[in-house]
Symmetry: C2
Subunit: 214 residues, 2 copies
């Protein structure tokens, strides 16, 4: 398809597509002659991904470029490629390793991973932003005087593991590895608001069942 | 305890405590004489809650005041009191009801609630920000060309319901209704980052199990 059609099919303006092309967020079309290029389904998919990252995820162009670099790097092992694409997304602040609550939280998170038998997550801990985010969250609870640790987190972690199984099952319904990696990135951007909303709706439902409305 | 002790026990500076008192975020102590007031456990708890909302949740003072107004309003039915406290927290943008994707998303979310048998959540739909957030998230998926709807969301919603059961069980371990409502607000602020981190850790674990590291 030509540029005008690509714009129509994607709902992205011609000017914006040209901008994405200039910034290297969209791969060039196949040049037919000096002024015309041909685009295909792959461009349409990429455009959808870029739009989700910029318009919904509100990511800066440099971050989008970094994520796409990982999505497209098929020299990487699959877990690392998926991880790298997600790890480039915005993360919480880094834990302050000198803080006593952070140190206690590290021990609790390690104990949690041991109890769960998540050996892979433990091996990835030194490079994983998710691991560090959990340490920050547990440290915040402890600083407020709540004794949150492995004990309280195990049942939550087990439910989140079942959620992750659903995520990957759904991801695997997409035919190619490239599409699967793209879907994982989209999922990280779109799923989290959906999960948060479902969680709160479920809290309302359960609260109403337990305590009624009046 | 005196103001200086309250500061030491809470880790909040005297100047900040005075600011919270002036802004009505902390109830006044029991006046002993013209210059001295006495504070107790309830002040310590309230201070912890205010600090979590401001320092971790980054909520403006007006929002904190609004949330506390609901936490303290024991004339409200319990579900509504819990809901009102959570609903005053920052929410996603409102759905644009003229948008065709939003309209389709409404139908999908209603179909989801029917399939789940969440009758209470459905009754609360017109006033619930969680319901509207879910509509916005589903509309975003559909706008990108993913046919997300009731079908795909049911297993996620069931896991989120089990998560909500854990939340309320944990909440009920706190002795008084006032403390339970406070815990629910803290949970909404602190739990979501923890859940997101656990979810991503679980994705890493599951991805490594399925695809290895190399």
């Amino acid at each position: 398809m030509r540029l005008a059609e690509l714009s129509r099919h994607s709902g992205v303006s011609v000017a914006t597509i040209k901008y994405y092309l200039r910034e290297g967020l969209l791969m060039p079309g196949r040049q037919i002659n000096a002024t015309t290029a041909e685009y295909d389904e792959e461009h349409l998919r990429r455009l959808r991904l870029v739009r989700a990252m910029i318009q919904i995820g509100r990511l800066p162009v440099a971050t989008v470029r970094e994520v796409l670099g990982h999505v497209d790097d098929d020299s990487l092992p699959r877990t690392i490629r998926l991880g790298a694409a997600l790890w480039a997304l915005p993360q919480v602040p880094e834990p302050d390793e000198d803080d006593e609550y952070v140190q206690a939280a590290h021990q609790e998170v390690d104990a949690l991973l041991d109890r769960l038998g998540w050996e892979n997550a433990k091996r990835l801990a030194t490079i994983s932003p998710a691991y560090r985010s959990l340490v920050v969250a547990v440290a915040a609870f402890r600083r407020l005087g709540y004794g949150w640790g492995a004990e309280q987190l195990v049942p939550y972690a087990e439910l989140m593991h079942r959620t992750a199984v659903l995520d990957l099952d759904l991801m695997e319904t997409h035919p190619s590895q490239a599409e699967q990696t793209e879907f994982a990135v989209l999922g990280a951007i779109l799923n989290e608001p959906a999960m948060r909303a479902l969680h709160r709706l479920a809290q309302e439902e359960e609260s109403s069942r337990r305590y009624g409305f009046e």
